[in-house]
């Protein structure tokens, strides 16, 4: 299996800290042979550069191969730095939470996202902040608006396909309702995961529905570990009533295609 998104480092809003080696070792025990990881500390810095530089140096010897994502504040980067990240071995980029203050349709943001896409996969992360511990008035404003996301995806897809042909974007940690509503706006290529608690914890057939909406070749298995128990996503997939070949694709093949990982 490939874990399409996990993280190491320290989460600042409750006591939660784990080394890169410990994360990969735990995932290996769960049956993952590859994981795609970013650094939590970088995610919470407005300028993630130094945390990314430190993370790039980590190379623990574990049974689960680590593929790294650079945290990427699309309002703060420039093209030179994006290329530097690629030279450091990062296979892609994950966007900073929107509460860092950017708008996804801003011209500089779109420009940096296009540059990132030409250097790897891009993960657009929905709010990772613990919404449940925030006042509703604050939590609401940090959501990515679906209309704006649709506009951004359309712009990115058109531009990237024209220039390089590869459009590898994953929407991660989006609530089920957002994924459903987005599909009525945006019908193009996109990868999605089911790492949101609103999908993992639901009693309903959300995986089956997401397969219908996005296609089995566009779902990936992200554990969201260390924020979430890694078995949550695995069990959700195992207990879903989709075909075994689709489970196989979702648990490894699709993420391999997204990040260019050979299994």
């Amino acid at each position: 299996m490939i874990d399409a998104l996990c993280m190491s480092g320290t989460y600042p809003f409750r006591y939660l800290s784990m080394s890169t080696e410990a994360v990969a070792s735990k995932l290996a025990l769960e049956g993952f042979r590859h994981c795609v990881m970013f650094n939590l500390t970088a995610l919470f810095h407005r300028d993630p550069w130094w945390a990314n530089v430190e993370f790039a140096k980590e190379d623990p010897s574990v049974n689960c191969t680590i593929h790294k994502l650079a945290v990427f504040n699309p309002d703060y980067e420039d093209k030179l730095r994006i290329r530097e990240y690629s030279k450091m071995g990062y296979v892609g980029f994950i966007t900073s939470p929107i509460y860092h203050g950017y708008r996804i349709m801003r011209r500089s943001v779109i420009s940096n996202l296009i540059e990132a896409l030409s250097n790897g996969a891009v993960v657009i992360l929905n709010l990772l902040e613990d919404l449940r511990q925030m006042h509703r008035a604050y939590s609401f404003r940090y959501r990515i608006m679906l209309g704006e996301l649709n506009d951004a995806l359309m712009t990115l897809k058109t531009t990237v396909k024209r220039e390089s042909g590869e459009f590898r974007v994953l929407l991660s940690h989006f609530p089920y309702n957002d994924l459903v509503n987005l599909r009525s706006l945006y019908n193009g290529d996109i990868y999605v995961d089911f790492a949101s608690s609103q999908v993992l914890g639901a009693p309903y057939s959300h995986i089956e529905e997401l397969v219908k909406l996005y296609g089995a070749s566009r779902l990936v298995l992200s554990t969201g570990f260390i924020m979430k128990y890694p078995k949550s996503s695995i069990l959700k997939l195992q207990l879903s009533k989709i075909q075994d070949k689709d489970k196989e694709a979702i648990s490894s093949i699709n993420a391999g295609g997204l990040y260019g990982i050979r299994t």
Binding site: L16, R136, L235, L237, L239, E248
Partner: protein
């Protein structure tokens, strides 16, 4: 993909629900059997009722539905759903415990349990030595649910009734679970269940660290995969896991 091999060894799900839709109930039983869950403590799902203060007739009917389900599936043990605002709430509680063999009481969002109006119902539970499962929110900023119990309300209830066996529901049902468990730390008659949709890493470990492994209970609140993932992934001893999955629930019922 790795094949599913999980056996929870006769676990007790202390907090789950049934719906009018029998297809849902049968699927829940099927999954429970597949995963090795032997007992389900079931109350009627409040969302399947017309509101959070349902009238007496509706609550009687809902509890009878649970009773019929318990006759059909041996795993199902009834919890009597009570709206304390109903005139016959005490009579209903007694009837379902004594005549229908229900093993607990479920209180939802009609009124906070810090209110004295719940006391006669709790007295019935204490007399019959059955647990009281209280729906509890763990929000730092409660704004829209004025009648929903919070950990402070649980404290009030537990201090008024030291002999009551109180289960503070779903610490992983949303909210600040670190705060929630810390508020009931010193109340030895309060248990917490780990049901709910939230898969936050460390939540089970924190409950065990603060409360000890004797006061944490396995539950799904119908959300089976998240609950099973939590208990199977938690970094706790096997002894603690077995207590949470089964032994603590049996002790509450006096079966151990």
């Amino acid at each position: 993909m790795v094949k599913l091999v999980i056996n929870l060894g006769g676990a007790v799900d202390v907090h789950t629900h049934c719906y009018p839709d029998m297809g849902f109930n049968e699927e829940m039983i099927r999954l429970s059997r597949m995963l090795g869950i032997e007992q389900l403590w079931v109350s009627y799902h409040p969302y399947a009722m017309t509101g959070f203060k349902p009238p007496s007739e509706e609550v009687w009917k809902a509890n009878e539905f649970v009773y019929e389900l318990s006759r059909k599936f041996k795993e199902v043990k009834g919890f009597v759903y009570v709206n304390p605002l109903n005139h016959d709430a005490v009579k209903m509680t007694e009837f379902f415990i004594k005549e229908r063999g229900f093993i607990g009481v479920k209180l939802y969002r009609a009124v906070r349990v810090s209110r004295r109006i719940v006391d006669p119902i709790i007295e019935v539970a204490v007399e019959n030595n059955v647990p009281i499962l209280v729906h509890t929110a763990h929000r730092l900023y409660p704004t829209s649910r004025p009648n929903e119990s919070e950990p402070e309300d649980i404290r009030s209830l537990a201090l008024r009734f030291p002999k009551a066996k109180i289960i503070m529901a779903h610490i992983t049902g949303g909210g600040d679970w670190e705060y929630a468990v810390s508020r009931v730390r010193d109340l030895l008659n309060v248990y917490v269940d780990i049901g709910g949709s939230v898969a936050d890493y460390g939540s089970v470990e924190e409950a065990v660290r603060v409360l000890g492994d004797d006061r944490v209970l396995f539950a799904t609140d119908t959300l089976i995969s998240a609950a099973v993932a939590r208990i199977m992934s938690a970094n706790i001893s096997e002894e603690s896991r077995i207590k949470i999955l089964k032994l603590n629930a049996m002790r509450i019922l006096g079966e151990q």
